[in-house]
């Protein structure tokens, strides 16, 4: 039995790449806000995670986001895009992937729409990524840490909303796959 169709795999790979490189693209703009708030980041990662959320809500396979996070971690190591995390960068990619999977699994049998689940997943995964980066690199505490997590969660929710909308528009592209599994949701 095939776990994934080729089209789905290509879509997942594309989302991995988009997530990885969008972080670099939005970085300078995001830094304008985080510099103003005197915190080390939190916004660019939320956009990066949006692509994992989009893929995970559309494909709906357990562990999908975690696998994508692991692939991103491998790619980051291969491309030398490890930032200040160094060799521990894959952990920083894997943890939010796991958080997305857990959030989507927890809301799977609820009445929440795909958009709402995307918002929740991104709003949960972004602070998880922030806390991981904090544990590995920044070691903030007190108010700076609280603000860092709040900014991550808020930007995660906003980008989750965008991700939910993106997923709605992309659903027809993966429609056949979703219908085969009877998992199409509004």
């Amino acid at each position: 039995m095939k776990l994934f169709r080729l089209r789905t795999l290509i879509f997942l790979a594309l989302c991995c790449d988009l997530g990885l490189f969008s972080k670099r693209l939005i970085g300078p703009a995001a830094n304008l806000i985080t510099d103003l708030l005197h915190i080390p980041g939190g916004i660019a990662t939320s956009l990066s995670l949006m692509f994992l959320v989009v893929a995970a809500v559309l494909v709906e396979r357990p562990g999908c986001a975690a696998v994508m996070g692991a692939v991103q971690g491998g790619l980051a190591l291969a491309f030398g895009m490890v930032g200040s995390m160094g060799a521990l960068a894959p952990v920083g990619y894997l943890v939010p992937g796991l958080a997305i999977d857990l959030a989507l699994a927890a809301t799977r049998r609820t009445a929440l729409s795909r958009r709402d689940r995307a918002v929740l997943a991104n709003a949960i995964a972004s602070p998880c990524a922030a806390l991981t980066a904090n544990a590995l690199v920044f070691r903030l505490w007190g108010l700076p840490l609280l603000l860092y997590v709040c900014v991550s969660a808020a930007s995660g929710a906003v980008f989750g909303l965008a991700g939910g909308e993106l997923a709605r528009r992309l659903a027809p592209v993966l429609g056949a796959e979703l219908q085969d599994k009877g998992e199409a949701k509004p």
């Binding site: 080390p40 490890v82 160094g86 958009r115 918002v119 709003a123 903030l140 709040c150 900014v151 969660a153």
Partner: protein
């Protein structure tokens, strides 16, 4: 509550919480004056103007998290000289904090070693460099304060 209202309420609540936290943080964070370092020592804080420090040539090699080496050739001042200028003489360690709250700790033994711990001049403000580290995690850019303990 209608399903459709969950997301706007969640986003509004998170933005409000973020704004409140930002207001609290920005109004209470100890800030350094422009062109100076804030040095906390013995329960007191002094602002040390950077132009009072004697910057000289600093050469060395930093190793980043990927194991890549980067040569440093800049104008800098030993951290020991900075602490002396601020009147800090007896200490065990110094926490060096950047404008974005990132911080690193250097010990008195490291500071005492010649050609090891420096503040080098950069456009965005001084940068802490610790030569001899296996990664550049203690390379702190935009240094604004030193907490001496």
């Amino acid at each position: 509550m209608k399903r459709t209202k969950l997301v706007p309420i969640l986003i509004a609540a998170l933005i409000a919480l973020t704004a409140a936290t930002a207001a609290l943080y920005l109004s209470t964070r100890p800030a350094a004056e422009e062109g100076s370092l804030r040095v906390e020592y013995g329960g007191q804080a002094v602002h040390l103007p950077l132009d009072r420090l004697e910057f000289g040539p600093v050469h060395g090699v930093l190793v980043n998290g990927k194991g890549e080496e980067r040569a440093v050739d800049a104008q800098g001042v030993p951290l020991s000289d900075v602490l002396r200028a601020a009147g800090a003489t007896d200490y065990a360690e110094v926490t060096v904090t950047a404008d974005d709250a990132y911080h690193a700790v250097v010990t008195a033994e490291e500071i005492a070693q010649p050609d090891r711990v420096f503040l080098i001049r950069e456009e965005k403000g001084p940068r802490l460099v610790v030569f001899g580290d296996v990664d550049s995690r203690r390379s702190v850019s935009g240094v604004v304060s030193l907490t001496v303990t």
